[in-house]
């Protein structure tokens, strides 16, 4: 069971109160993109064992979207942060580096 804290309303709840919205920080390629970039946006997803970044929605609560960093193997939640960002906050990355030395997720490490 995941225990998530919604950064919008500050409430801590377990995962059935939330809904997962898939991988975080995907660049949405537009009509001007080349085929490879569009294919990457459309189909390529990582499925890591370990550190993972996802979008979540507090569906039974405040209804807001946010981001969460968690471990897909242990279900430990490292932290949650605002939806309107292209990159996790540096202090969260520091926390993850301390807990999972050498972790790599896409271009984040």
């Amino acid at each position: 069971m995941l225990l998530l804290e919604c950064p919008c309303c500050g409430q801590r709840g377990e995962e059935t109160e939330f809904h997962c919205g898939g991988e975080a920080h995907i660049t949405r390629e537009g009509p001007g993109a080349d085929d490879a970039a569009f294919e990457n946006y459309m189909f390529e997803r990582v499925n890591p064992k370990g550190v993972h970044f996802e979008r979540w929605r507090h569906v039974h609560g405040c209804g807001k979207w946010f981001h969460a960093a968690r471990d897909s193997a242990t279900l430990e939640v490292f932290g949650t942060y605002a939806a309107a960002t292209h990159r996790p906050p540096e202090e969260l990355l520091e926390t993850i580096r301390a807990k999972r030395p050498g972790f790599k997720w896409r271009e984040l490490a």
């Binding site: 709840g13 039974h60 405040c62 209804g63 807001k64």
Partner: protein, 196 residues
């Protein structure tokens, strides 16, 4: 009453009640308004406090005085309740105060069903805790707390106006489902003793 105001509103379950180890009851109709916008905007604060005559609640809180209340629903949403007989007056008041197009309200009085759980404090908490994934211990959920979550499979909001009483609001379309769940959770003999 003119035809334009429609038929007299009725409760979703006709005021159903169940006396189990706590009492579960459908509450009389209340006027309920969803106010959306910047919660720090003066016009929105004035509209809410003008209707309910209570202070603005903090995050995750409800400010109340009897049937008048303002609940913090999300960073940009409030739920304001007043007794039903103030409904028409409240509509006029909201129209007059919320003139900024970025602040708005919706009358949700008849889109919601309202239930109460009353009885010994620990048992009331326990009945709600059986159905919602929320820490309802007295330390984590003191009187005045407000929490949106789920009850069984549907969204609901739970708050504690006073020790020994919990109120629950859900969508009217699922009123029967929620009442049945609450009644089942309050069935005599199913006490857990979770909160002493």
């Amino acid at each position: 009453m003119s035809d334009l105001s429609g038929p007299t509103p009725v409760l979703a379950l006709g005021g159903a009640a169940f006396d189990g180890y706590v009492r579960v009851a459908e509450e009389p109709l209340r006027a309920m308004f969803t106010l959306r916008g910047d919660l720090s905007a003066k016009a929105l604060k004035n509209a809410a406090t003008g209707l309910a005559a209570v202070d603005m609640p903090g995050q995750g809180q409800v400010a109340l005085n009897g049937e008048h209340c303002i609940a913090w629903m999300s960073p940009d949403e409030l739920l304001v309740m007043t007794p039903w007989d103030e409904h028409a007056k409240a509509l006029g008041q909201l129209d007059a105060t919320l003139t900024d197009p970025a602040l708005n309200y919706t009358d949700v009085s008849q889109a919601r069903a309202l239930f109460s759980l009353s009885g010994p404090d620990g048992l009331v908490r326990e009945v709600a805790a059986k159905l919602a994934p929320v820490d309802l211990s007295p330390a984590a959920f003191p009187a005045g707390s407000f929490r949106r979550s789920r009850i069984g499979q549907v969204s609901a909001a739970i708050w504690m106006p006073a020790p020994g009483r919990i109120e629950v609001v859900c969508f009217r379309s699922v009123a029967d489902y929620v009442f049945t769940l609450l009644r089942d959770a309050a069935r005599p003999g199913s006490e857990v003793g979770l909160f002493g």
